[in-house]
């Protein structure tokens, strides 16, 4: 296996508060890498640094062999990094279906030229068909016509996942994909994520608080604590690590 994502010496501070301290982080091609850690450990901050939402104060980030440290988030998306947010971000006044249409059209826009700005009064047939495929794939049938802002937390998360899949990423980063879900929805979400991971051939980076979900998905586990990685490896090995038990799992 080769590392698809490599971060070296990642440092991030908000003002004088150092949130990430010299973090080395690897993600192998094809793995499902879960990052856990107590609230405020810096998981979301790590996501924001890796995805390009925020500038890092030190270190380098390489994706598929290329140094992406200086690229914007949008540029990294074009290289194949997709991401969701801890609180799902969707277009609240559009229907769920239109959310998907926008995602697909945005991916395709570079091939469209001026037709993108004036050419169509309706989404192209191929775009609609692709959106419909995503709807079936992710089981969004019941909610496609609803205004996206009125969906439940879980449905918003699924819609956001569908939008990210529409971008055909190589690496997908999911920040707490099951936050706010009921236990049965969680199990369903794990199955869904596993399925899309296989069918899209994705590498996954996840954060998660729910241990069922963590051990249901992880092929590798990393524990972050106060902005430092304290353990990383096979999920079972990390679970057995005494230091991890002490600072993190022990609290639960």
């Amino acid at each position: 296996m080769t590392a698809i994502l490599e971060a070296r010496g990642l440092t991030k501070a908000y003002g004088s508060v150092r949130v990430l301290e010299d973090v080395d982080f690897d993600l192998q091609d094809g793995e499902a890498h879960v990052v856990i850690g107590p609230n405020g450990a810096g998981k979301t901050t790590l996501f924001r640094c890796l995805s390009g939402e925020t500038r890092i104060n030190g270190g380098t980030i390489r994706f598929a062999g290329e140094d992406v440290s200086g690229l914007t988030g949008a540029q990294r998306v074009k290289r194949g990094i997709g991401r969701t947010f801890q609180v799902a971000r969707i277009f609240p006044s559009m229907s769920a279906f239109e959310n998907l249409i926008v995602a697909i059209e945005t991916r395709e826009r570079t091939h469209q030229g001026l037709r993108f700005t004036f050419g169509y009064i309706a989404p192209r047939r191929a775009v609609v068909a692709e959106a419909e495929r995503l709807v079936t794939e992710l089981g969004l049938e019941d909610t496609v016509d609803d205004v996206a802002g009125t969906l439940s937390h879980g449905d918003k998360k699924r819609l956001e996942l569908a939008m990210c899949l529409a971008l055909k990423p190589r690496l997908l980063m999911l920040d707490e994909p099951t936050a706010g879900m009921s236990p049965s929805d969680r199990a369903e979400a794990v199955r869904l994520i596993t399925r899309v991971r296989d069918s899209y051939g994705l590498s996954l980076l996840l954060t998660e608080h729910d241990m069922e979900v963590v051990f249901g998905l992880a092929t590798r586990l990393t524990v972050l604590h106060h902005g430092e990685i304290i353990a990383s490896g096979q999920p079972e090995a990390v679970r057995a690590d005494p230091r991890v038990r002490e600072v993190y799992l022990g609290q639960h």
């Binding site: 004036f118 009125t150 971008l167």
Partner: protein
């Protein structure tokens, strides 16, 4: 699933009714009323150009007079100093002037400011342009540029004589219809949806892999070009370009039209502009009454029906159609 084609057809039907109404005006009204109708037609698209930013891209402009005035002055200059130039090319130069102003301002301001700070910057920039106009001899200072001729258009096959007010009135109606059509197509294109998406969640849009700045600038330049086009079309009609058309009061006009008619609807600015014109006409004998009436009406609309007249009608229709057992759909408001 939205039926896009049905939406297109119904909007086309609305446009056709509106066009028919404007077409009969010269037959049923005197020249004064026709003149007002011509200005209303221009105001409709001027209002729409502002709403492209406000409801489309989520950008607030308090300085649309800079585009309107810019287009008007560009047109006036071209007609006075370059009489041989084809008229349609002059209009294109007018629109181009607005696009250029928008481009320069947008590049400077869009990255630096947002929300009300952005709006105040548009106001300041617009006032600056107004000031430059009043101090430049070339632009007629406070007197403006007068005696702008109405054109004749050579098509090669035939000559279109627009020198009479009535002929030019029809030209305005056709030009504004074309502009509104182009705008509708843009707003319903993938790009229009994308700009709408940026307004609703710009971070999500960035993480769909697109430049927020680039698309906001596109919307800003289009809006500026369209507003300038309106100004350029107006100048041969009134035959004068005076500094007032670049003054901040002009910037308030499209805001009033849009808020009165309803920002959430493509036709909102049109309804607002027509209503505004009607009030202006109804109160023309009494100086100052127009402002009071419009002010009161706007206050009532903003306080009682924030969605504007069309928003209000739509809301009522939905309420009537829904069965009483069904819960009301939650109203979602996009974040700025």
């Amino acid at each position: 699933m939205i039926d896009y084609r049905a939406r297109f057809r119904s909007n086309l039907a609305i446009a056709a009714c509106g066009l028919a109404a404007f077409a009969v005006v010269p037959f049923v009204a005197n020249s004064g009323l026709m003149f007002l109708a011509g200005l209303v037609a221009i105001n409709i698209v001027f209002g729409m150009s502002w709403n492209l930013l406000f409801s489309g891209a989520g950008l607030l402009s308090f300085g649309h007079a800079m585009f309107f005035g810019g287009g008007a002055y560009a047109m006036a200059l071209v007609s006075l100093h370059w009489p041989g130039l084809p008229f349609l090319l002059g209009l294109a130069i007018g629109a181009g002037a607005g696009a250029l102003i928008a481009l320069v301002f947008g590049v400077i301001a869009l990255r630096r400011a947002s929300g009300v700070y952005f709006a105040v910057l548009t106001l300041v920039f617009s006032e600056l342009i107004h000031l430059v106009i009043t101090k430049t001899t070339f632009l007629g200072r406070n007197d403006g540029l007068v005696g702008i001729p109405r054109p004749t258009i050579e098509t090669g096959l035939f000559t279109l004589d627009l020198t009479s007010a009535t002929a030019y009135y029809y030209f305005i109606v056709v030009a504004m219809a074309c502009a509104a059509f182009a705008l509708w197509c843009f707003q319903n294109s993938p790009a229009g949806r994308l700009i709408q998406a940026i307004r609703q969640d710009n971070l999500r849009t960035a993480f769909l892999g697109t430049s927020i700045f680039g698309w906001q600038l596109t919307a800003f330049v289009l809006s500026g070009a369209l507003a300038a086009f309106c100004g350029a079309v107006m100048v041969p009609f009134t035959q004068i370009a005076s500094p007032e058309i670049a003054y901040w009061t002009v910037s308030t006009q499209p805001i009033l039209f849009t808020l009165l008619g309803g920002a959430g609807n493509f036709w909102g600015p049109a309804v607002g502009a027509i209503l505004f014109g009607a009030i202006d006409y109804g109160t023309r004998a009494m100086h100052g009454l127009s402002e009071i009436t419009v002010g009161t009406l706007l206050l009532l609309v903003v306080l009682l029906i924030p969605g504007g007249l069309l928003g209000f009608l739509q809301h009522r229709r939905q309420k009537k159609r829904r069965k009483p057992t069904e819960p009301a759909p939650k109203r979602t408001e996009a974040q700025p």
